[in-house]
């Protein structure tokens, strides 16, 4: 037993030492770690404040408010559990079967159970730490609003950790079995599709069920309809429902259900031993399969003849790499869901209930929609455009060693991304304007400014992507956690807000005269033109500055 423990500790050493070196570098003060800590605390605090407001709102509505808020409590637990299972499964395929250190570890004289233990600990921490940290303020808000007794807090912490442990042990065990049925890469694809579908499902359900109507029973024809809309399945067999039931019971009656508590604690331990058994039984055949096929034995015949055009081939390369990588193209489903929900929001906006004239309100929303569209574009650019240079990875030397200049390479990338992003921005702007019945000058203002923002944000994404290019990132999504991505998002949003704020006065003056009198005054037109020209100038300066800095950084950096 002592022998086993020492092996387990040894296997965890790379993880522990890497974490120590990363967060507490020698001979340096851990400013970065402190920064991350302060930032996380600030986010937790904001989350807590928002959660308290939301829960208080639901809780105070009417006699059904408490039931409703506890229903949301249960849904939050189930969602957290499901997300953890999926993310753990995706990570487990990589850590257990595709990890680069596998050959060293599996060739060493260590038992499979020790490897399972090490992979379980590391994968669980990687996949669940964020969910645990950020779920604490949300569930803590319930304690505050319901004025919970002192035992709520330790009970809540135990429930969160036990539920996360159950989700990760279940996820890893299931992955070991699945990889035995399909090759590892195929399994990863399947889990990825399933998790994306689940994410889209949750996203659409949450939005399309119109939660804002739940606190307004008048919207329902009969009280029974309202009650049935609240009657989402209680899911008594889900560990997440146990946690929510345990805490709800304590919040309401201040009593601890020890049976459920025991169930919560025993389940992850039981799943762990089942997973360990599955590892002993199926791991080797799964690992063998994962090495036999990487899904690359399919043939792809090039139909087009070779033609001399580096622009054409940069386009082809980018699109082929995107469409052949399931982790990339499957995100298109998510974008489609995002667009549907985005536009749906405009369809169900209760503008007719506004205190002001409908036309004023719709025009104001159309103006603010420029910023919203910009925000969507910025987040998608952070996901797809920002990491696109780093995603060249070790192959980037091919570009840099070729006669294609860095300027031209960036320009081609820009042209490649400008087409789909312009289409997306136009869909968001034009369709929402249509749903709001916007015509006349506001239509043109929103479309022109929206496009200026889109094109500038794209240039900024490429610029930041070049400045902070991470050629060693495992995939595009991994680059999102870097400082460059955060700086890009902050800068892009600051730029958008600046453009919108600068436009408030000229647009208001022009639209007031247009809506009241049906004319556009010369002065109003002049100030509007000045705003658009100033926006153009700011955009050009920012775009050129970031692109040029990015090009310089790429040319200076070692590849």
């Amino acid at each position: 037993m002592a022998m086993d423990l020492s092996k387990k500790k040894t296997l965890l050493q790379p993880f522990l030492f890497s974490a120590k070196n990363r967060f507490f570098p020698e001979n340096r003060l851990p400013f970065r770690t402190l920064g991350v800590l302060v930032f996380s605390l600030a986010v937790c605090l904001v989350l807590y404040k928002i959660s308290v407001r939301v829960v208080t709102y639901f809780h105070s509505q009417n006699e059904l408010g408490i039931i409703l808020s506890l229903k949301i409590f249960q849904m939050a637990w189930i969602t957290m559990f499901a997300l953890l299972v999926f993310s753990c499964m995706v990570s487990a395929v990589s850590t257990l079967f595709l990890s680069q250190d596998n050959e060293i570890i599996f060739a060493a004289p260590v038992a499979k159970s020790d490897i399972f233990f090490m992979r379980y600990i590391t994968t669980s921490i990687y996949t669940s730490w964020m969910m645990i940290v950020f779920s604490i303020p949300v569930f803590a808000a319930y304690g505050t609003v319901f004025k919970a007794a002192v035992f709520y807090w330790p009970l809540m912490l135990v429930s969160i950790i036990a539920t996360a442990a159950t989700a990760t042990t279940f996820g890893i065990g299931l992955t070991v079995v699945l990889v035995n049925l399909f090759p590892a890469k195929r399994t990863k694809d399947i889990i990825l599709y399933l998790s994306i579908c689940f994410g889209i499902f949750i996203y659409l359900i949450f939005r399309l069920m119109r939660p804002e109507d739940l606190v307004n029973p008048d919207k329902y024809g009969h009280f029974i309809d309202y009650l049935s809309s609240l009657a989402t399945p209680a899911a008594p067999y889900l560990p997440a429902a146990w946690a929510s039931n345990l805490l709800s019971y304590y919040l309401m009656d201040r009593e601890i259900d020890f049976l459920v508590t025991a169930l919560l604690i025993i389940t992850p331990i039981a799943f762990f031993f089942i997973g360990e058994w599955a590892m002993e039984r199926w791991f080797l055949s799964g690992f063998t399969k994962s090495q036999e096929s990487f899904g690359g034995y399919r043939k792809f015949f090039s139909r087009g003849k070779y033609r001399r055009s580096s622009l054409r081939w940069i386009f082809l390369k980018e699109s082929k790499l995107f469409l052949r990588d399931s982790a990339e193209w499957s995100q298109l489903f998510m974008i489609a869901a995002l667009v549907v929900v985005y536009l749906y929001n405009f369809k169900v906006l209760p503008v007719e209930r506004s205190l002001f004239e409908e036309e004023y309100v719709t025009n104001l929303i159309s103006f603010l929609n420029i910023g919203l569209t910009g925000f969507v574009v910025a987040s998608l650019a952070a996901r797809f455009v920002y990491p696109s240079i780093g995603a060249e990875g070790g192959s980037f030397y091919i570009i840099m060693a070729s006669p294609l200049s860095t300027e031209r390479y960036i320009l081609y990338k820009y042209i490649f991304y400008i087409v789909p992003f312009t289409a997306l921005a136009l869909v968001l702007l034009v369709v929402s304007n249509r749903l709001l019945n916007i015509e006349g000058p506001m239509w043109w203002i929103s479309v022109i400014t929206g496009l200026i923002i889109t094109w500038t944000v794209l240039a900024m994404a490429l610029g930041f992507g070049a400045i902070y290019a991470d050629f060693k990132a495992e995939n595009r999504a991994a680059a999102l956690g870097g400082i460059g991505a955060i700086l890009f998002l902050f800068s892009a949003i600051a730029f958008e807000m600046a453009i919108i704020f600068l436009g408030v006065s000229p647009v208001y003056r022009l639209m007031r005269s247009w809506l009241r009198l049906g004319i556009m005054g010369a002065n109003d037109l002049l100030t509007l033109s000045a705003w658009i020209l100033a926006s153009l100038a700011i955009s050009l300066i920012l775009a050129l500055f970031f692109i040029r800095t990015g090009i310089r950084r790429l040319e200076e950096s070692s590849t």
């Binding site: 090039s302 081939w313 070790g394 590849t559």
Partner: protein, 275 residues
């Protein structure tokens, strides 16, 4: 047999090029990483049609020098000119004339081998007829024909190395810069690569070759530069190096060890034998 295959390729010929003696001229090249000087004031040149071997122990500065010649790293000091053009002032033209084969074949995993060749050809603006002729030739030469429509992610390390070598020879550049060419190659492919170097050099292509294999350097190289701690320790043909090492009738291994710290090695060998 291999020679017969190689002779089918129309390659770069001297008559089509500017009649200059040197394809590559490196002057006082220096590169520092923080306080560490990786390359310290190196000067060398490579003649047209010459195979130049660049040797040195691990961490001596070989790859840094090669990356600067390939235009992947900016030197802190000194100059590089390729085909009488300054790499700093005319990078595009210099890169057009240089083919770089790295030691680790990172390629675009989700492209097929053939698509990768098309991509490289496009970057270097290769004529369609040259592309058609050379891809067919090199894919056949390296037994990659049956794999050309498979994704690169399914290729072995050696197949990737062969693909990248094919992609560079396909371009017919006047200068080829190679970092450890034989890593991962099977004996047959290794032999093909050696013969390719020789035949292309005979037709006027200059090859700047970095290797740890002294047998390869001895067999292929017209001149050799030995780099140690960032500085050029010795430069010349085998005879010149013998003189430099104060050895007579020695092979390259003895010369190399002598010039790069043989005494140290002798101590280590003695310690190992007595252990």
């Amino acid at each position: 047999m291999i020679r017969d295959k190689l002779d089918n390729t129309k390659s770069y010929t001297m008559s089509e090029q500017v009649a200059a003696d040197y394809v590559l001229v490196v002057k006082n090249l220096t590169k520092k990483f923080g306080k560490f000087t990786a390359v310290d004031n190196i000067s060398l040149n490579v003649k047209r049609g010459e195979i130049f071997g660049f040797l040195g122990p691990n961490g001596a500065g070989k790859t840094t020098t090669i990356k600067m010649i390939a235009g992947l790293l900016q030197p802190d000091n000194g100059s590089i000119s390729i085909n009488n053009r300054s790499l700093a002032n005319e990078p595009k033209q210099c890169k057009q004339d240089t083919g770089y084969i790295p030691d680790r074949p990172y390629l675009f995993e989700k492209l097929t081998g053939f698509e990768f060749l098309q991509f490289i050809a496009s970057l270097y603006n290769l004529a369609p007829e040259t592309f058609a002729r050379n891809t067919a030739h090199y894919l056949k030469l390296f037994d990659l024909e049956d794999w050309r429509h498979h994704l690169i992610e399914s290729y072995s390390h050696g197949m990737r190395q062969k693909l990248i070598i094919s992609s560079i020879f396909m371009l017919e550049p006047p200068l080829i810069v190679v970092d450890e060419p034989m890593v991962g190659l099977d004996p047959k492919s290794g032999r093909i690569v050696k013969e390719l170097f020789k035949s292309h050099a005979a037709r006027g292509t200059s090859i700047f070759l970095s290797t740890h294999s002294l047998e390869i350097a001895e067999e292929l190289c017209d001149r050799i530069g030995i780099i140690l701690n960032g500085s050029l320790r010795a430069l010349g043909n085998l005879k010149d190096l013998e003189v430099e090492a104060r050895l007579e009738h020695s092979d390259l291994e003895e010369i190399f060890l002598e010039l790069t710290g043989a005494y140290e090695l002798q101590d280590i060998i003695a310690a190992l034998r007595s252990a």
